[in-house]
């Protein structure tokens, strides 16, 4: 059974600090997606990672994928309050074109 594990599940941090969210998965896949969800809202696509070594950056967020380690990271640089949200990673199942979702990391950034 494919499992996608995110850690931490909850993260409270100060502005201007750096931190990393980890996404581990249990089967072979070379496609992984990161989404953001604000409270009470829907999911917004952040990054699409399609191969080993892929790195994408948008503002203070940077995502990377290591398919050999079955690991993706979402790095936050110099956090600001606006980045407070829940972040989900999702692994692409080639066999049925479905995404297997992590449990989400709730990020709270305090001024």
């Amino acid at each position: 059974e494919l499992k996608v594990e995110q850690n931490p599940l909850f993260l409270s941090m100060q502005e201007e600090k750096n931190y990393t969210i980890y996404c581990n998965y249990s089967t072979t896949s070379d496609r992984l997606y990161w989404y953001r969800q604000d409270p009470g809202k829907s999911l917004e696509s952040l990054f699409v990672l399609l191969s080993n070594g892929a790195v994408k950056q948008e503002g203070r967020l940077m995502a990377s994928l290591d398919t050999k380690a079955r690991l993706s990271t979402l790095h936050i640089t110099a956090a600001v309050h606006d980045l407070s949200a829940t972040y989900f990673c999702a692994v692409d199942m080639d066999s049925n074109y479905q995404l297997i979702w992590g449990a989400g990391t709730k990020l709270i950034i305090k001024p």
């Binding site: 809202k41 829907s42 696509s45 989900f88 049925n96 074109y97 479905q98 995404l99 979702w101």
Partner: protein, 116 residues
């Protein structure tokens, strides 16, 4: 910018009543997904369509839930009768098609269902 449309945005109903949700995917997207998301959890896939055909409904509680996409465009998800445990956010997503190089899914705003 193309978006996934859903309605209603909010629905309050009493248990044992019937409810229906509507979704219109991004134009040209052949694959459509219905998810249920309970507060504090990740999305749970209920049903996946490719055009008008159901690809996977293994997680759909078929005794009370039904879904259709008759013309392969918009879709309806129905619950009859609603139960207290059905209170959740119902999300619709679409992607280009099965077999595409990228299976990025685009989500609608969701329908927040409260069953009293």
């Amino acid at each position: 910018e193309a978006e996934v449309a859903q309605s209603p945005r909010y629905k309050i109903t009493e248990k044992s009543q019937a409810v229906a949700f509507w979704c219109d995917p991004i134009s040209g997207h052949a694959t459509l997904y219905w998810y249920r998301q309970i507060l504090g959890q990740g999305p749970e896939l209920l049903v996946q369509f490719q055009d008008e055909s159901v690809v996977d409904d293994s997680q759909l509680p078929k005794d009370r839930f039904s879904a259709e996409r008759l013309k392969g465009v918009d879709s309806t998800l129905k619950i009859q009768p609603a139960e207290l445990g059905d209170s959740a956010m119902y999300l619709c997503a679409s992607s280009l098609r099965r077999g595409a190089a990228v299976n990025e899914q685009f989500f609608g705003p969701g329908t927040r269902l409260t069953v009293l």
